[in-house]
Amino acid sequence: MKLLKAYTWLVILWLASPIFVMILFGFNDTPSKSNTSWHGFTLKWYRELFAIDGLTDALITSLLIAVVSTAITVVIGTMLGLALGKHRFKGQGATNFLVFAAISTPELVMGASLLSLFVSANLPRDSITIIIAHVLFSLAFVTVTVRARVLTLDPSLEEAAKDLGASPWGTFRQVTLPAILPGVLAGAMLAFALSIDDYVVTSFVNGSTITFPLWIVGSVKTGIPPQVNVMGTLIFGIGVLIAISQSIAARRRG
């Protein structure tokens, strides 16, 4: 028993150590540009969070791309998940396969082939192509989470709504959507998380647009400033808050 406990804590420590280090070095009073050794505690980097223009711009770009691509992905993915979960139709097997293929394609391959596609389509690479790429690789995750939820849905719920006079759209808005909302929200969170920290695919299709991960990788040689740790900490903190509020809401729903 003691061994098991020790082992458990060891695993937790191992999983959490990168996060601890990230948070800790956001408070590092480093004199130089490099942030690799501890020089004492400071809140300076929180005060000067937006002092580096390029980094701030990259973060804003990333947030915008994440919000837009998540919104698009959630709409398309919810429709796909509903269709796959509720109906039997011609081409269903092929659709299922494509959804899974998108999950299993290596990112490098996806990025490279998207670049060839955009180049041969003569599409200038910018935020739009990044959004297209992000929708593409996160769509499968939204589809899968929504479909899983739809499969647990009692089909007579929608019939009951129609029977009581609701139009097809009214039925979706008042009955179907609230019932599958947990799946939609989980998918949205996944899509947002995938988008905001994607480096590989984005690096192929960005053109001259710089996102948050691209900026960090670009600054590796000159040293990653502590502001990056602070931003990472804040993004992580927001994620934790969302996760906690979700589980509280889930407990309340029962």
Partner: protein
């Protein structure tokens, strides 16, 4: 005016490239304010028939009329009927009040009217004070009543109930049967009730359509269905019944030493007689009655009555129910030779 008219309704499905007929041509009229049951075993087409009345299925052929108006191709949200689902299908994210008010909100009924009507119907189904509850916080019987209220509050021209008591235990089911009957009298709405439970149908219905294999075998009031089944299927499906076959000569079927009186019949006949109509006694009874000899195979004590299984000379089995009267003594034991007798009016030639 008929509330519901089905005319030659057929429903076909294609399953694995083969055409399957779920409903093979049903024609029936349901009167205004009637408690009408569709009764039959699973797969007989009763639920499909109801779903065509509700609008969830479109008939392959034939027509559906509601109050004289052809609604065959009208979608369910534009039909003036409401349904109580087997699974209740209560909206899990809404409380009782919002569930019941759902239909009225769709029809854009003024808020004050919604308040009043939801309040009234919750009183009728005895759920006052539980408006804020969620469906999952309620018992099966309460959920059942919410489903009923949610449908009835719209004052539909007809209420369709799909085995609504199937999920309840026996005691609650019996209580709800009487409750349903009371509510129907109170609101005066036509009820169409789908069930495979013959006692449920007999208890509640004004008329019953007994369905088998996509067709209506008999459409009549409960008493006629029970006393005068129109086919061997109906006789077998409703309660317990005995079937005796033989050749009638001038109104008499000879069965070994015994005889069955079938006034006015000649030729091959199948006679049905209910177990509780038969008297069991050790000697051949006197008088102008049907009487056949046999040997007691089994005696089962069932509380309010005893069930005898008697084997006739030709091998046919006859079930006899005998009420446990004041002195609960058995008339016969296993292995006894006995005579079974009944009044001629209590047996009935099927199909005549």
């Amino acid at each position: 005016m008929h509330a519901i008219q089905l005319d030659g309704v057929v429903k076909e499905y294609t399953s694995h490239g083969e055409v399957v007929q779920a409903v093979k041509g049903v024609t029936l009229d349901i009167a205004e304010g009637e408690f009408f049951s569709l009764l039959g075993p699973s797969g007989c087409g009763k639920t499909t028939t109801m779903r065509m009345i509700a609008g969830f299925e479109e008939p392959t052929r034939g027509s559906v009329r509601l109050h004289g108006e052809d609604v065959t191709n009208v979608p369910p949200n534009k039909r003036d009927v409401n349904m109580v689902f087997q699974s209740y299908a209560l909206f899990p994210h809404m409380n009782v009040w919002d569930n019941v008010a759902f239909g009225l909100k769709q029809k854009k009924v003024p808020t004050a009217d919604i308040q009043r009507r939801v309040g009234e119907i919750l009183e009728i189904v005895d759920l006052k004070g539980r408006e804020k509850r969620r469906p999952r916080e309620m018992s099966g019987g309460q959920q059942q009543r919410v489903a009923l209220a949610r449908a009835l509050v719209n004052h539909p021209r007809a209420l369709l109930l799909d085995e609504p008591l199937g999920a309840l235990d026996l005691k609650l089911r019996q209580a709800m049967q009487l409750e349903l009957k009371r509510i129907q009298r109170e609101v005066g709405i036509t009820f169409v009730y789908v069930t495979h439970d013959q006692s449920e149908a007999l208890t509640m219905s004004d008329r019953i359509a007994v369905m088998n294999d996509g067709l209506v075998e008999q459409l009549a009031d409960p008493r006629t269905i029970y006393e005068r089944p129109a086919s061997p299927f109906v006789a077998g499906f409703i309660g317990t019944s005995n079937l005796l076959s033989g050749t009638a000569v001038a109104g008499v079927v000879k069965l070994g030493e015994g005889r069955v009186l079938v006034p006015g019949q000649d030729g091959d006949v199948t006679v049905t007689v209910r177990p509780e109509k038969i008297t069991i006694c050790p000697d051949r009874p006197e008088g102008e009655i049907s009487a056949v000899p046999g040997k007691v195979d089994e005696v089962v004590y069932l509380g309010t009555y005893n069930s005898y299984t008697v084997r006739l000379a030709d091998g046919a089995e006859v079930t006899v129910f005998q009420q446990n009267a004041v002195d609960a003594t058995l008339t016969a034991e296993r292995g006894d030779s006995v005579w079974l007798s009944w009044q001629p009016q209590h047996s009935y030639v099927i199909g005549s």
